[in-house]
Symmetry: C2
Subunit: 200 residues, 2 copies
């Protein structure tokens, strides 16, 4: 196996582009080499087989989508509030728009995972670690709501991002930021404790 | 164009299976003919091209997923309540599990739509008609919540169904029915009007 880490990363980034443009079935070593502009045969020196390539693509997508600690720290410095949750979600949505290729690639990987148990297990692990980490950060920052609030936000944003990338006209009369605000307002409790038990 | 409607439906159902099993790139006339057990060349007598096949597959998926009026009528006969919304959502989830192939096919079509503007427009139209009809039924039945409640339920269930079909271990410690109940409890307001304005 070849071990040049920059080259490996460049090949994985090329693979993400192929995945988003062509779908999982279009992701071949040859297509990755062509996209990366390297000689045919290069990818096969870096990945033992397609399963390993797919699995490393999944991990690379998460590396690209995970904000660096500095930007999260800054974001979490203000007083925790529902508005701050909304701000973080709007930031995530802008990232989704900017990293369209990564998000589309991740949706393609999910569908490919229905045909590849090994990829499914690997994706489950990284998605779960991501959800757990988001939950931990939310609670540690003293944001309103509990672990189920974070799960609900995650589910609604998954639906919203899938719609935005695949059928953007579905919620056409609404701006993405406005949809995010609706999601947050309906899911995250108000900052002050309610005066009555609300039956939830 | 051949016009036997039962044969056309059988070909579309075979196409949905190919789509779910092989992904959009695997959906060829030849693969549909093989899956349907008909002579090679049959599909090309029924569909002018792949775009038309994909578009009709999308419509067939919605026909299969739309409950007949009788079952909805029965479901809506009881007093409207949050619990009744939860019951309908649990019923939808059971349908998703039973019609796994249709739901997976629809997710594959969405991703294929990123590469085919015509399919994207067609899918947007059918998904939107479906969301509008669900909203209309919810409000007409006097269910708690408003049009945004239905949109939020739709988004969260889209995320939940995608997770269930592609990475079922992600919410592994929770049963699907329990997750549905959490979604409904957090999104749909209680049946009685709140005693205080809750800032939403």
């Amino acid at each position: 196996m070849a071990r040049n880490p920059e080259r490996r990363t460049a090949l994985l980034d090329a693979a993400i582009e192929v995945l988003a443009d062509e779908g999982a079935r279009g992701l071949t070593f040859r297509a990755v080499d062509a996209r990366a502009g390297v000689p045919t045969g290069t990818s096969s020196n870096y990945f033992t087989d397609r399963d390993q390539l797919l699995s490393q693509v999944g991990e690379r997508i998460f590396v690209r989508l995970t904000p660096d600690a500095a930007s999260v720290d800054t974001a979490l410095r203000p007083e925790p509030s529902r508005e701050l949750v909304a701000e973080l979600m709007r930031w995530t949505a802008r990232r989704m728009v900017a990293e369209r290729t990564c998000y589309l690639g991740l949706f393609e990987l999910r569908l490919e995972a229905t045909r590849r148990p090994e990829l499914r297990d690997r994706l489950t692990t990284v998605l779960r670690a991501d959800l757990d980490e988001n939950t931990r950060l939310h609670l540690a920052a003293g944001m309103p709501g509990d672990a189920e609030t974070v799960r609900l936000l995650y589910l609604a944003l998954t639906g919203l991002f899938l719609d935005h990338l695949t059928v953007p006209g579905l919620h056409a009369e609404r701006e993405l930021d406005e949809l995010i605000d609706t999601v947050v307002t309906r899911i995250v409790p108000t900052d002050r404790p309610p005066l009555t038990a609300s039956g939830g």
